[in-house]
Symmetry: D2
Subunit: 336 residues, 4 copies
């Protein structure tokens, strides 16, 4: 066995931009229902954070004609690490060049993954400094735990759709240095349906799942963390009281062991309230691979996920929209 | 600012050996009350694991005249990383040389930290393969969740006592590559009372706390993880029903935000059932430093920790035992 | 308004007998998976209890050709109350006479409800006296909390099917003195689909739901209590690990606000692990009545209950079995 | 054994009036921190309710020079029951006569318990009708679950101090018809230190505990219910963030098995956030009696209750204030 050196250049998911056609309603969802804090506004964008997020802002809502993903920002572990990854991405032919950072993030290198999702890497970052009145009585908590609504603690992960899971997964592994932790593979392993990857010991911060409509650059869901399963149940009570459509959960996935609750924010993007799962500390962890039978309906317990979980993503497309010839026929399954 | 490159050579706490004068009773505590699985026996040692631990065994109980720590094993992220750390430790003059591994762990480099705690680093490791009947219905869980007793999921961290916190903390940072996440410093920062360190984004896997009795190489506590605060409360109910002495908790520390429950296993070692805390993903996280006033009694809520939490450790010593002249006078405080 | 005096003669559900064609397997389910204690055996019956149950035994499993209900035992608040209810039942023409009690219950009056479910009322009862080794360290807990499996605390309620909900509900109200707390009524209130009743401030201990197959005397489910929603989630993890089929949940009903988890014990009877709901203390509480739209799929959150929840009960019947002409056509709905 | 007929004339604790010298700050505590709803104001009083309370209002804060109890209102199960209790109280020489009701409660009979606490019984009550915007999506919930702060569900119980526990307990049992569920008795049973009583199967809605300062008519604490232990932990996080002094907990009492969190509202009254405990359904339940050793420090786990828990009550008195000769010497113990 040759000595293998893992790439450990990316620290974590740093920031996500979501597009919404109804920014005021989306702001209500994230601030008043989920309990995030609004920390600034620029042009048609509003910046938010969870009470436990280290950075000034971790989510930006930007007005747009259709919902979906804006840009995904990854934080490097150091300046040299940032430069190494920029070089690797350039070498892979996917770089878009260096830019001045935004929203408290320093100089960044922009790129697209093979499916076309807009991404960037940065290192410098402005931490959050709570203003008077928003300081926590816990010195190690960046912001007061306000107890407003669901009160999500921090951003957790993204699941995006793509036309070719293997190509995107390989890019994330070999170019970004992410580790593959779980996969769904159908047809005796020949069809890679979904891959769950992480830059760290967190179970996943990025999932690639096949887009059954053959479209490009779409978002399956964006997930926010709460500390306990009971918090997820409480979130369901609150979403129900606020008239927010709950698509599935609270329940437990088999893949990832995540305890989930999926709803649509008013702009149409699927948002997950998430807890549980497990840390992957072993450096030689072998990816867990699920076939059709093992994967089942994607739930560990009880009632299967609804069809919409497979078929709906943002922006929504009809098959004829973009990819009349490119649609994918899958046996019944559910992406996480 | 010069480009800084973090050391990321150690993956996680791999294995802990505890000494006990009453091995049968200690086994009862870890297996029947805490719900760990006994996976093997060698000589005067029995090997155990949590249902979520990746390695074959993560805790070994070894018969000894007095309780305390045996050896702490750290896993490297790769073979080259292991060699780099061995070189660094040797250069620091603390190495004890290479050995064949034990208990499923490969070739390892042994050393002592400045305070004399026995440690080793290794890379190769035998993962756990559950025998028939112990396989989980979750493909990503190494072992069946049996529901026996407290049913701790995995090992989490160690807190050890030492005479010179700064010296040991610096060793962990610069030689092992651990990151410092929190500290307690008294006397306007001049007296380093405790330091919480981690090889990864976990809040801490190793804490150094000053030994108020001036002894060497002692254990404050060894911690095992459960997934929810409710699991910690349930653990307290079970410890109480089994007649196990509960020293403190369930409650919440201010430092680390950990939700804790401390009891003594029959051999005398302090064991923590632990959940909560927070992940530290920011690569430029500034250590949170608590002074006398901020640290208070070490609890975020309610009743202070008892005196024993400061004064008792294993092996127990009277001041005259080892260090008549070396005892440390502290203002009232509580190490985590 | 005339002065109204409530009947308060029945204290609580005292004991339930379940029939099972596979008594050994059913015993495994209740004792090893749910964590009940087996306290005795007589003939083809085994007696069990939850750790918090006051009576010696609260559940009996009796071998039979087919699964279903044996007898339901209600405890009166006093000897005179028992006699008053016996008189009232006799006057209603449903009495079967006095018998010596069994299983630690004193002299009892046997009867059938209008649908034919076998019932009895008793007052005297042998409380549980824990043997050495099974005593709790809590003086107010009848038995040690062992932490084995799901560890249900006590029996909670029964839901039975019947051909005429209104007739059975009126019997429970006017003859037994139960209070009606919730109802499902379809067709502008004309069709009484289900009624939830209680002898006390507990939300319900008896539910009558229409039998869509037109059969008599069947059981929909028998429910056991745990203290927290997290305990229900933990129960789901354990049922899954033990290979027990989970029909629905964990999730939350709209009706009753109960947090539920339904599985089938190996004999075929549907068993609910239950928590939450609410106490009904107001003596003039107006029954909450749900129509088709309000009732929806019977869940407060997420995915609807499966068809089996409506169609399966014990003993199982095909429509042609018993009631070829008597089947009931319902719009889609889900009984609790 | 003669046939014994229990009195079952009182349904539940209906309403509590608390006195506070700082009404605005007390309102902040109950409305903004605990999440109760303010439903009206009259003179120097403001009326509040929990989201699950059936009555229009269950707590009134009234401005006064000193904190303490105003009046405790009990609801009868019927109009005849109300009249029976009024007769019994009059016969006991403690009646103060009939009055028009207030705050949505109908005609009531006022009285004082032997220690002088002001009480009343009533039957008619205005239920809460949620205004537009405050209606729950759950038809069986009187009001929207808003998710504001601790969000207590309903009022639960009162613990009051008195000079002669036995006399007050006997009054509650024989005149009000309450059942005795637990007691603390010291000195071989001769000294009745505390008694926990209930009009229903709830564990207790009224506790009498000896006033170690020998004063009259004082309040030890008033308790509000949340559904889970996790909710109590979350409450502690929120009280800490709001700078509210936490006296004790979250932890678990041995007596009552209640999971508690005690803080002082700004007016000085001790308030408990409460969950857990157990229902007492057996009509012949034998009161659980704890002696000095069994009672211990009043906690089932961990650190003892602080001295203030024994010595502080509202209104606060110095021993010389009222009862120079009447103080009670107790061995160390903790009232719940």
């Amino acid at each position: 066995m040759t000595a293998h050196e893992p790439i450990q250049d990316i620290a974590h998911l740093g920031h996500v931009e979501l597009l919404t056609p109804v920014p005021d309603k989306s702001l209500w969802y994230f601030r008043d229902v989920l309990g995030m804090e609004a920390v600034g506004q620029e042009g048609q964008s509003v910046h938010l954070r969870g009470y436990g997020d280290h950075a000034h802002s971790t989510l930006t809502l930007t007005e747009a004609r259709r919902p979906g993903l804006g840009r995904i920002s990854w934080r490097a572990v150091s300046q040299p690490a940032l430069e190494r990854r920029a070089d690797a991405i350039s070498a892979a032919g996917l770089g878009e060049g260096w830019r001045e950072g935004e929203g408290g993030r320093g100089r960044c290198f922009r790129f697209r993954d093979p499916d076309g999702h807009a991404m960037e890497i940065y290192y410098d970052e402005a931490p959050y400094h709570a203003p008077e009145g928003m300081r926590s009585t816990l010195k190690n908590l960046p912001m007061k735990y306000t107890g407003r609504g669901v009160n999500v603690r921090r951003i957790d992960h993204l699941a995006v759709l793509c036309r070719d899971v293997a190509a995107n997964r390989r890019f994330a592994e070999s170019v970004l240095g992410f580790r593959l932790h779980e996969q769904v593979r159908f047809d005796r392993g020949k069809m890679e349906v979904g891959s769950w990857l992480s830059p760290s010991i967190m179970h996943h911060q990025l999932a690639y799942v096949v887009d059954v409509k053959g479209a490009a650059g779409r978002l399956h869901h964006f997930a926010l963390w709460v500390d306990n399963r009971e918090d997820v149940l409480r979130a369901a009570d609150l979403l129900a009281e606020h008239g927010v459509f709950i698509e599935a959960g609270p329940s437990k996935h088999n893949n990832s062991q995540g305890f989930y609750l999926y709803s649509y924010e008013p702009g149409g993007n699927r948002i997950e309230i998430y807890s549980g799962s497990y840390l992957v500390t072993a450096p030689d962890f072998q990816p867990v691979i699920w076939n059709e039978q093992e994967r089942g309906t994607g739930v560990y317990w009880g009632t299967p996920l609804p069809d919409s979980f497979l078929n709906y993503a943002t922006p929504d497309v009809t098959v004829s929209d973009q990819a009349p010839a490119g649609t994918v026929k899958l046996p019944a399954f559910d992406p996480i």
